[in-house]
Symmetry: C2
Subunit: 218 residues, 2 copies
């Protein structure tokens, strides 16, 4: 817990009382791969990632999913629905993609900091602006970009995150990131294989022509 | 100008100096139908709608458009790109759908208010949360909802905004709201006409079965 100060972005702009309140109320938790951190409308509070990797996604009534953004070390996120901000009216699920260590700051504590401190309020504005920018980017992708380009860009991104050319990821999981069906992913990956850009084996996708995928995904 | 105080949402939480600064720097402008208020990355500042109706949209390289949200009387909006908030990294166009009267508060003035006043900073957070919710809703629509449902919901919304069952709107304009091509709109409207839900004449769409459109659009 003593490290929260190193991860909370405007720590030095808080007074002693506020810092103490944060340190005594923040909950530190470890989530294993695929564990759900936040679900729908529940009031989880403010989240700070100490380590790991998480994804935020929405899903359709039929169970289709699409990743809205991802969280890495030092990222922060606030989606607690209307309990913290009356205008936040949507449901999102956050789950760990890898083992993740996070702090959760209770909604009432964070809300009171927002009301007391312009530094916290404006830090929140920057997070909101970041999410807004992420989501606008996503709308542009799903509206104007064909699926081959989106899949190519996703593989390039994954390979950059993992720092590997051999990706251990199922077609189902890729489909859930990109908001489509597994069959659509499989079909396109086979096309990529025919073009020499990837090599498919059971449970893995090996990128054999990163440059070509980068060009396609641009 | 004397009315800005009635439209600025946290006016009473500002001190005398701040109120004066707002009143002396805000620019009041009237935009005619179809006039562009804000374009892309330019630094327009903070916008308050006194009267009228505007839409915010993004467009593809090929010129396709989709409406991201709409603004009505008393709505506020801040999309000035990185000149005001470093994390706001996307381009949006705002244009008047009807003759509109708006105040524009210069970015530097609004930014300094955000830094001085938790009321302004948190008001900004509520606006951001509203936009985020609007855009999440839009993603759900374009991802999971078939076009017939989206068009039906759009016609119901238009008829509610205009308080009329006879809508003066071109198929091209509807296509630009919904992010599709004109032909797609025309084809679906003809289908709606065959089903007895609308009656099409030159330049107008008359809603003849609102209930059916409401059910379809749900």
């Amino acid at each position: 817990m003593s490290e929260l100060r190193d991860f909370f972005p405007v720590w030095n702009k808080l007074n002693k009382n506020q810092q103490e309140k944060l340190e005594t109320t923040a909950v530190f938790k470890t989530y294993h791969e695929d564990e759900v951190v936040h679900n729908g409308t529940e009031c989880s509070g403010f989240l700070i990632v100490k380590s790991g990797q998480l994804r935020a996604h929405i899903s359709s009534e039929e169970g289709r999913e699409i990743t809205v953004y991802r969280l890495f070390e030092r990222d922060t996120c606030m989606f607690s629905g209307s309990c913290m901000m009356s205008s936040l009216q949507f449901d999102i699920t956050i789950e760990a993609e890898k083992k993740s260590e996070i702090w959760l700051i209770p909604p009432k504590v964070f809300r009171s900091l927002m009301d007391e401190s312009t530094a916290v309020a404006n830090f929140m504005n920057e997070i909101m602006a970041t999410r807004l920018s992420d989501i606008m980017w996503l709308i542009e992708q799903v509206m104007w970009k064909s699926f081959d380009k989106r899949l190519a860009a996703f593989l390039v991104e994954e390979s950059s995150i993992e720092e590997k050319s051999q990706l251990k990821i199922t077609h189902e999981r890729i489909a859930n990131h990109l908001g489509t069906a597994r069959e659509v992913v499989t079909r396109m990956l086979k096309y990529f294989q025919n073009e020499g850009m990837v090599k498919l084996t059971r449970g893995t996708i090996e990128i054999t022509d990163l440059k070509a995928l980068e060009v396609l995904g641009e």
